[in-house]
Amino acid sequence: MNRTLLRHKGWTWGFRSTVLLYFLLLIVLPIAGVYVNSFSEGWAAFVQNISDPIAWKAVLLTLKLALIATVINVLIGTMSAWVLVRYDFAGKSLLNSIVDLPFALPTAVGGLMILVLLGPNSWMGKLADTLGFQFVFHQPAIIIAMVFVTFPFVIRAIQPLLEEMDHSAEEASYTLGASKRDTFFRVILPSMSPGIISGAMLAFSRALAEFGAVVLVAGNIPGRTLTASVYIFGEVESDNEAGAAAISVILLTLSFLILWLINAVQTRRTR
């Protein structure tokens, strides 16, 4: 009796609906809510919200700094992945494990670390100060925070490609008399490039969205050190939720486009 009750079809149905409902309520509803909310007072209000110079300057600044951080990450990430896969040296496994630390560490802690390391009271900060240069509360600190937070993406995207790479193409290139430089640019780099591209796009979208590390180290001066996510936070704090929602829609749409591009690149690769 009890067992037939447990095996009743209604259980399966109820279980499936609960899981799907949880998913729709938790993920789809909030995202739809932001879009609906930012257009709830019509196009004019939306346009007015995003044409506030403080707002669009924050978005442009975020794009610029995220782009710089991504370029830095592509350079140091490609190098690190190469070294971690191709060379054997003391401390290799240690470095390989701490690559993921920026993912595991709370972003606020990451920001605090940069603040303590480069802040006005640290010796690095003082040294930079005497050279007439400042990190913290200025744009360099925001870039460093973005680089720190997105550091693992490029490395982790390239590593598997390098490990799977067929050595015969590289050897053939050497045998045919190509120089090291030619081999790198003609043979090795092309096989790493899908990883570099998808890693860079992930890093870029993460840098665009970054808040925790940035809010601690940025001076939050409109037009100079106020990033989009910090601007949104400020608008929520000052009870201008419509303004916050409008900028969120811009930022979200950008991130979704990047995510869609990454998927397109990856499906093309696996096909």
């Binding site: 909030p30 060379y87 560490l105 802690v109 670390m113 808040f211 809010v215 936070f233």
Partner: protein, 265 residues
């Protein structure tokens, strides 16, 4: 070339990760061990750490269970059409692309005191935003993809031959799950759990927006670090941050061990 690349990689890792960690650790003790203990034994610090612990617990359990089921449905759920599954599959990743602050804003817009749902809950004496439930929902949103994305590839690689064999031989769905599916996804689930714990432990932006950061009420460990820093209480901020960092490093070590056993056997 290798003469230059290896030292250069060491330099990058040192500047970006190792030295900042060391500075954080020494910063927590710059007023001696007593300063570190004082920072942690403040009532607000103890309360914040407790809040973080509670959020991690609730979020990991909920998103663990629902994440596993969602992963299974997206791979095996033939009762959903292929199209629907593809659509849901791409929606799962969306929280990755959402800035945590926006994640928090979404919850405020949907459940805040000025909204229909928010007023309804307020009337029955249940506060969502600027209270514990809102903080849990915000963290649930941010961490949802982690478990789903760990479980799915393992199920896809595994194929469903064994499961079909089990159910053809007369095993009921629960038995099939426990005896066939579970053993093969176990390490992926453990890995996903560690990721979820790490992410919910460190969630800052979404929680800051939803919680209002009210001291001794809705303050978590990460938002306390932020507030200490705003109040120029650097030693205290370092102390709490060091505790969080130690947890993160511990979780990272666990991740390393789980990663090796994660794949299909």
């Amino acid at each position: 070339m290798r003469k230059y690349w290896i030292p250069l990689t060491w330099i990058v890792f040192s500047i970006l990760i190792l030295i900042p960690l060391a500075v954080l650790a020494t910063g927590a003790f710059d007023k001696g061990t007593s300063g570190f203990i004082a920072a942690l034994s403040r009532p607000e610090a103890r309360h914040a750490l407790m809040m973080t612990g509670l959020i991690v617990l609730v979020v990991t359990i909920l998103n663990g269970l629902f994440g596993i089921m969602m992963g299974i449905y997206l791979v095996r759920g033939t009762w959903l059409s292929r199209r629907v599954r593809q659509l849901f599959n791409s929606i799962v990743d969306l929280p990755y692309a959402v800035s945590p602050v926006i994640g928090g804003l979404m919850i405020v817009l949907l459940l805040g005191p000025d909204t229909v749902i928010g007023t309804f809950f307020e009337q029955i004496g249940f506060k969502v935003v600027y209270a514990f439930p809102g903080m849990v929902i915000a963290t649930l949103f941010v961490t949802f993809p982690l478990m789903v994305r760990e479980v799915m590839p393992v199920l896809q690689e595994l194929g469903n031959d064994q499961e079909e064999a089990a159910s053809t031989l007369g095993a009921y769905s629960w038995t099939t799950f426990w005896k066939v599916t579970w053993p093969s996804i176990r390490w992926a689930v453990i890995y996903g759990t560690i990721l979820t714990v790490a992410r919910s432990l460190g969630e800052f932006g979404a929680v800051l927006v939803v919680s209002g950061n009210i001291i001794n009420k809705t303050q978590t460990a990460t938002t306390l670090v932020y507030q200490d820093m705003e109040n120029f209480n650097v030693t205290a901020a370092n102390g709490v941050a060091l505790v969080l960092a130690i947890f993160s490093v511990g979780l990272l070590l666990l991740m390393e061990r789980a990663k090796k056993r994660k794949g299909v056997h």
